[in-house]
Subunit: 368 residues, 2 copies
Amino acid sequence: MSSHLSFRVEAVDLCGARAGFLTTSHGSVPTPLFMPVGTAASVKGVDIGRVAETGAGMLLANTYHLHLRPGEKIVEQAGGLAKFMGWSGPTLTDSGGFQVFSLAKQVRVSEEGAFFRSHLDGSAVHLTPELSMQIQEQLGADIAMQLDEVIALPAERSRVEGAMQRSLRWATRCVTAHVREDQALFGIVQGGLEPDLRQQSAEALCQMPFAGYAVGGLSVGEGPQAMVAALEATVPHLPSDKPRYLMGVGQPRDIVAAVAAGIDMFDCVLPTRCGRNSLAYTFQGPVRLRNACHASDQRPLEEGCPCRACQHSRSYLRHLFMSGEMLGPILASIHNLTFYQRLVAMLREAIVADRFVDVCDQIRSRYP
Amino acid sequence: MSSHLSFRVEAVDLCGARAGFLTTSHGSVPTPLFMPVGTAASVKGVDIGRVAETGAGMLLANTYHLHLRPGEKIVEQAGGLAKFMGWSGPTLTDSGGFQVFSLAKQVRVSEEGAFFRSHLDGSAVHLTPELSMQIQEQLGADIAMQLDEVIALPAERSRVEGAMQRSLRWATRCVTAHVREDQALFGIVQGGLEPDLRQQSAEALCQMPFAGYAVGGLSVGEGPQAMVAALEATVPHLPSDKPRYLMGVGQPRDIVAAVAAGIDMFDCVLPTRCGRNSLAYTFQGPVRLRNACHASDQRPLEEGCPCRACQHSRSYLRHLFMSGEMLGPILASIHNLTFYQRLVAMLREAIVADRFVDVCDQIRSRYP
């Protein structure tokens, strides 16, 4: 099922951080990899040409959103997600599980699947592992994700274990249901913050023919230390020759910590969401663009940044936000997406050049 | 005062439509010319690189808005309007007069100038011809506009005549106050829908050393026939060797009619405002992108259009609007700006090739 996906590790740092390449039939992307989120087949506020200019190699879209609107049939008619968006590179769709638990209404989960009502119009949906596979095959991304049961943390151990075990049974059903040969399927490790459950989940998934493994159920408010602990309980039990994907993460410090723990792939809405709210990421730390100190500052947001926003002054960017101009959110989103791509590129370069720890310290000093 | 501006007519159609070149120290632009509106130093929703890609040669910004926010001092510190926006081509600022009458609160006009309160924070401003010149010199566009008194139409003849006469006195004061030699100053013909007042205004302004002449006080709900009648009463009394600018116009049919009447320059918010509201202009007529008929239409908005939006399907564009994605307004704005540039380029080409009447008929058949 993964014949069109390959992964090659090029360098490994002493701590376990990896530099590699993920190759799909739509191209090869370097890892560590950060995927901008195109929730509804659009990276919010940024046209697809500008997305490419940020250095992004691979995009993520949300199955839940696309199923509700415009529906997978419309996307399929366009030739799949990438063509629908006008994107020529690789793509990944999530399973819809996370959004069911965070956005949908009247959610009831049974062994069969998740019943819920759309947050848009209240229409009833019964998302089973089989339906998630069918939808994702119609969306046609290079990588599909298994359906898993996501729960809020903290939770009682029995609840965490129950969801983890159910996610394993759903993983089996996903493997059986998934037939599209040009689409790779990833499993998702669950187990909350319980190290032994994480290990158990990882070991069981490794017995199944997944092309890669995600770590799910994190970045739900558990804090960076607990996140790292969960990764350390998980990653050693994943095969070293398959890509490892930490879903929905995160802040720059989280990405640094997760790369150090051996993670290869990330996605997160922060660059665009923060950008829309006038928060810009720079290698000197975060910059709040509405602050009065930028009123007549002729410097760019970040010296040496090649993005469109950095062709303007901080003074101009602040003016755009203060005036409520759409261009403020647009340019800040472009800058933040560029920052995240530069961040993972810098980590990759450091791994290859054996300077990883120094670079991590440097970034952590600005994003404690 | 116009040493940095020159205008050359290259071809004149039988009806009087002109093809020319307007040259400023920031470059030469072909006429008929359509200037996208960058109200607050931003063409709404479109980054400056994408604005350039639409084919736009010259941009307009609003003195009223920039005076209130961020203030002309901030713009001056950046090196002027063009540098502030990151634009390398020519720019024009209006005088603030029109916005005072359409946006400001508690407006009182006297011979001295217009007293008003900001629509943003209620602060008091006294906009005189001298202050408008000072602000526009600090904003530093290639072309500044005289302050004029704008009134709502229809109005009694005595009211129209009073405003026209006052605008002439203000024109004299603007000429006296304007000192910046690298900035050209345009006069504005007033006179409402009264042909003899239009003639009187035009003839008086022609005695003053303006680098170009605008027709003001139109596109305020008078309808296309009345607009053309006002133009026909004005244009013959303007010098043939100076550019003629119809402010704030308009729909494609208005632009066609005004070019036929001998107008060289236009500005209008319609391409971006309509784009944000999912109305797209095409040479086959307007397209409402939310309509269900586009749901699975794989065709571009317009065959042969080189814009970013037309690299996507109508199906995708409709999806963006239905999903409330910012990218819908962004792409539709880009398309409409491109349409307006292609429209004036097509008119220009037709004038040069002696096919103007045919091309006008063609456009009018789609935009009656």
